[in-house]
């Protein structure tokens, strides 16, 4: 079963990559873009019986390894 996980910077944590992309978008003339935040998309395949178990497992390993809760938030995509 495939579970999709999104990891993002917590609000308030500076995202230098996003800021640099934002600056370049402005240089290209896309002045209407006022923020860019870059995160990670992770797909994991889990051998469990139910969707619920898979998501529970995904959250557990996100908290332990895939994300650093000090600086990042994570969620499982439905």
């Amino acid at each position: 079963m495939t579970v999709k996980i999104i990891v993002t910077h917590k609000p308030g944590v500076l995202d230098p990559q996003g800021q640099t992309v934002l600056k370049n978008l402005h240089q290209l003339g896309h002045k209407e873009v006022h923020d860019v935040r870059i995160g990670k998309y992770i797909e994991i395949d889990i051998d469990v019986a139910t969707r619920e178990e898979a998501e529970k497992k995904a959250l557990e390993i996100s908290d332990k390894m895939l994300a650093n809760p000090v600086i990042e938030s994570f969620r499982v995509e439905p």
Binding site: V13, L14, P16, Q17, T20, M65, L66, N68, V70, I71
Partner: protein, 236 residues
């Protein structure tokens, strides 16, 4: 005095540490491989710099789950002295042995140069050997050295005098600003609550030989050796 230097896949300052500790400073070094090494009869542990696991996921995120880290954690909990340099600092933060996190330099650039450091606390097992020096110059070389933590944590670190090294003004008047990576409160090195685990981005092992220009880093290792010697004089 036995230092253990841990090698993770992708460590690249392990040899620098071994060279400085063994050949230059004359300590005994145990070369410990992350997968099957042991910290038996070790006085202090050094987690060296480099790019363990290619910095995949986040710097230090995967090394933190290496088999040796269970031993390092137990060693630290038991009061053992642990020094994390650069990637070693990142690993200690990821492992939760130090608070906060190290993220991409604010400039987004790899920064490789000498920095001026103020020794904020000289009553630690890592700095007691610096008798007169207020400031030292050490090299840095990293992409992910921006230290961040929430304000509450930063206040606590300051209050408990756990900020050990802080970036200070430029090395020369014409050199770039003192804080090379945008670290919160210009923190370059900090220790845990018990004072036996230190993480620092600058490389003391690269400043131990006068023929390379500086010996400012020697004091860190000499302080550790002195602390270990003092501990051994006290019967258990």
């Amino acid at each position: 005095m036995v230092f253990a230097v841990v090698t993770f896949p992708g460590s690249n300052c392990d040899r620098d540490c071994i060279w400085a500790l063994e050949s230059v400073l004359g300590y005994t070094v145990r070369k410990v491989f992350h997968r099957n090494g042991s910290l038996e009869s070790t006085d202090a542990v050094v987690l060296p710099g480099g790019f363990s696991y290619g910095d995949y996921l986040r710097a230090g995120a995967l090394a933190r789950f290496s088999p040796i880290m269970e031993e390092v954690t137990a060693f630290a909990k038991d009061g053992g002295i642990v020094l994390g340099i650069c990637n070693g600092f990142q690993i200690l933060c990821e492992a939760g042995l130090l608070p906060g996190a190290l993220v991409r330099n604010r400039s987004l650039k790899f920064v490789c140069r000498e920095v001026r450091l103020h020794i904020e606390n000289r009553s630690t097992v890592f700095t007691s050997g610096y008798k007169n020096e207020q400031e030292i110059l050490l090299p840095i070389a990293h992409s992910d050295g921006q230290y961040i933590a929430d304000d509450e944590t930063l206040d606590l670190l300051e209050h408990e005098k756990r900020v050990v090294f802080r970036y200070r003004g430029p090395v020369r008047p014409d050199a770039p600003d003192g804080n090379p990576n945008g670290s919160a409160r210009a923190i370059a090195g900090l220790m845990n609550e018990q004072g036996n685990v230190l993480g620092m981005m600058p490389h003391p092992e690269r400043a131990c030989e006068s023929r390379f220009g500086r010996i400012d880093g020697m004091g860190v290792f000499a302080s550790i050796a002195e602390a270990v010697a003092n501990r051994k004089m006290i019967p258990a």
